[in-house]
């Protein structure tokens, strides 16, 4: 490489950094940087009225799983915390499964329309995807409410005598999350199915495969990267969900997100809240690593799966 070329390359890299610098500065100030401060806070002593006191302490991290007895100071497993973690993981997994069950046929349906109709169906999936999460959560809540549409209809038809209590339980949170995150599953699945070569189906049917065999041995393995991508895109926000459990779960059915908030509100335990946030962040990062691997494999594998 000549000297001039080398210099030009350096100038190009410098310009690249200079142009990106303002965006990076804002991101460090109001997004990434505060995360580092939060790490520091997780190792500090909790203040009496929220916030922290200077000084090193493991209490925030220990507090994730254990609680200290008020009288003799001994540690014991905090079962209330475990219930919240298990509920979060359980509801997130169930949401992912439900959403896949409904999302896969939907994505397949959209991908097999003719191009014109496909654009319209896709637009119909995208609108809820971009509309306010809170509005959608309210909308599903109003359907499930005691005085809501389902109860009113059932009462009028005489099927039930008293309104069913469908809100403020785990089921409501599950329904709400499935409703809210469905487009996140459909879109990557659609992208994977769209690239699927339908000639493979003809080949399989020519070889006397049944519909089920075609689905199981031909379609699902090939669109696997899309399945993994969609599952992670649903699982990650489900695990960190805050709005949906708060609106539909009531106070009793907290998930990790609400539990974190509690530490900064009534709980007044900022180090524990910070440690919980870091834990959530680590779990989500691991899930996202799998996501990146699935995407890369999909890109490399092409038609061979």
């Amino acid at each position: 490489m000549s000297r001039a070329e080398d210099q030009q390359k350096k100038a190009s890299a410098r310009n690249g950094w200079l142009l990106s610098a303002p965006a990076l500065a804002l991101l460090i100030f109001a997004a990434a940087g505060p995360l580092l401060i939060m790490v520091a806070y997780s190792f500090m002593v909790k203040g009496d009225y929220g916030n922290v006191k200077w000084g090193f302490s493991w209490d925030g991290w220990v507090g994730i799983l254990f609680e200290r007895d008020i009288f003799d100071g001994t540690l014991r497993l905090a079962s209330a915390h475990l219930v919240i973690f298990l509920r979060s993981v359980k509801l997130s997994l169930l949401t992912t499964i439900i959403v896949f069950g409904f999302g896969f046929p939907t994505a397949w349906f959209i991908a097999t329309r003719n191009p014109r109709a496909r654009a319209i169906w896709l637009f119909l999936i995208t609108i809820p995807f971009w509309t306010n999460l809170l509005v959608r959560t309210f909308a599903i809540g109003e359907i499930l409410r005691t005085e809501g549409l389902i109860n009113t209809l059932l009462l009028r038809l005489g099927i039930i005598d008293a309104p069913l209590q469908m809100l403020y339980n785990e089921g409501a949170v599950l329904v709400g999350m499935a409703y809210v995150y469905l487009p996140l599953m459909v879109l990557p699945l659609f992208a994977a199915i769209e690239q699927f070569d339908m000639k493979l189906l003809e080949a399989a049917y020519d070889l006397y495969a049944s519909r089920f065999k075609v689905l199981w041995h031909v379609i699902l393995p090939i669109v696997r990267p899309g399945i993994i991508a969609g599952s992670i895109l649903v699982f990650v926000p489900s695990l960190g969900a805050y709005v949906t459990p708060r609106v539909l779960g009531g106070g009793k059915n907290m998930m990790i997100g609400n539990f974190i908030e509690l530490q900064f509100g009534q709980g007044r335990n900022w180090p524990l809240g910070a440690a919980l946030s870091m834990t959530l962040l680590v779990i989500v990062s691991i899930a996202l690593l799998f996501y990146v691997r699935a995407i890369n494999r999909g890109a490399k594998g092409g038609g061979h799966g």
């Binding site: 190009s12 890299a13 310009n15 690249g16 950094w17 142009l19 990106s20 303002p22 965006a23 990076l24 804002l26 991101l27 460090i28 100030f29 109001a30 997004a31 505060p34 995360l35 401060i37 939060m38 999302g103 046929p105 939907t106 397949w108 349906f109 169906w121 637009f123 609108i127 809820p128 971009w130 999460l133 809170l134 509005v135 959608r136 309210f138 109003e142 359907i143 409410r145 549409l149 009113t152 209809l153 409703y179 339908m198 189906l201 003809e202 049917y205 519909r211 926000p237 960190g240 709005v243 708060r246 997100g257 908030e261 900022w270 809240g273 910070a274 946030s277 959530l280 962040l281 996202l288």
Partner: protein, 267 residues
């Protein structure tokens, strides 16, 4: 094959499931919209068409100030994030891959990867300290936070537009002795504009919809529309919330339609 009318891509039950999914997807939203025009206070019994709840929302000072605040923040965040994202997109496309470019990508996309509740809590901690240190309590914190998490949404359509752009026009401009600034303002920027507008609209919608980060960053009396609605939860739900939701939905759909029209032109 044609006589048996055997369509290979058809799988039993899939179309039915898809139609059911679309109905489930839209039924709650449409119900909410319809009942926002209900004359009575019920969210399930129809008592005649009326704009009563829009009037009530419109005359509610809390709603009015929250709306103004939402629009102010969204406009500011949309402009700031789009300008910064455009610069970053120009810095990271159409040049040789340089050292540290991955770091830039990771930072720009970071708001998409970190759960919102985690960012919200981190900002609460950081801004609480800054508020004590500087005494400043204004909207600046919300605008900074919104601008930051809008950057990736503005960046993606702008970068896509840049990558699809033809370099020859710019080369031609500089061959004709245009300065690099002239080339940029007269050739690059006009070509880039649809991407920039699309990015700005996406950023506006994302900022307008934000609940969690706003809820944690706002100082007292700084409710936006979504945090106001969240606060209303403790009271009985009235169609007033439906009216606000419907207005918000309408705005989102308008912005999104514009976004799709802008990005479609490219193809």
């Amino acid at each position: 094959m044609a006589e048996r009318n055997f369509e290979v891509s058809r799988l039993p039950g899939f179309a039915t499931t898809a139609i059911i999914v679309f109905i489930i997807l839209y039924l709650p939203i449409i119900t909410l919209m319809v009942y926002s025009f209900n004359g009575g206070a019920s969210i399930a019994l129809w008592e005649g068409f009326s704009l009563r709840w829009y009037e009530i929302a419109w005359n509610n000072d809390a709603v009015k100030s929250a709306t103004m605040r939402s629009l102010t923040i969204a406009a500011a965040a949309s402009v700031i994030s789009t300008v910064l994202a455009s610069m970053a997109a120009l810095g990271t496309t159409r040049r040789d891959k340089f050292k540290g470019q991955t770091v830039i990508y990771v930072l720009i996309n970071q708001p998409l990867m970190v759960p919102e509740i985690v960012t919200a809590v981190a900002l609460l901690i950081f801004f609480a300290a800054v508020k004590v240190a500087t005494g400043y309590q204004g909207l600046g914190y919300l605008i900074a936070a919104h601008s930051a998490f809008c950057i990736p949404f503005a960046y993606l359509p702008i970068r896509a537009r840049l990558e699809g752009m033809d370099l020859t026009l710019e080369v031609a401009a500089s061959d004709l002795y245009a300065s690099s600034w002239q080339t940029f303002t007269n050739v690059t920027l006009p070509l880039l504009m649809p991407g920039v507008l699309a990015g700005a609209m996406l950023a506006f919608v994302i900022s307008l919809d934000d609940v969690i980060i706003t809820e944690f960053v706002k100082s007292g009396g700084q409710d936006t529309l979504p945090t106001y609605m969240l606060g209303q939860l403790r009271r009985a739900i009235t169609p007033e919330v439906n009216a606000i939701s419907t207005a918000l939905l309408g705005l989102t759909v308008v912005m999104l339609t514009a976004f799709f029209l802008l990005t479609r032109k490219k193809n």
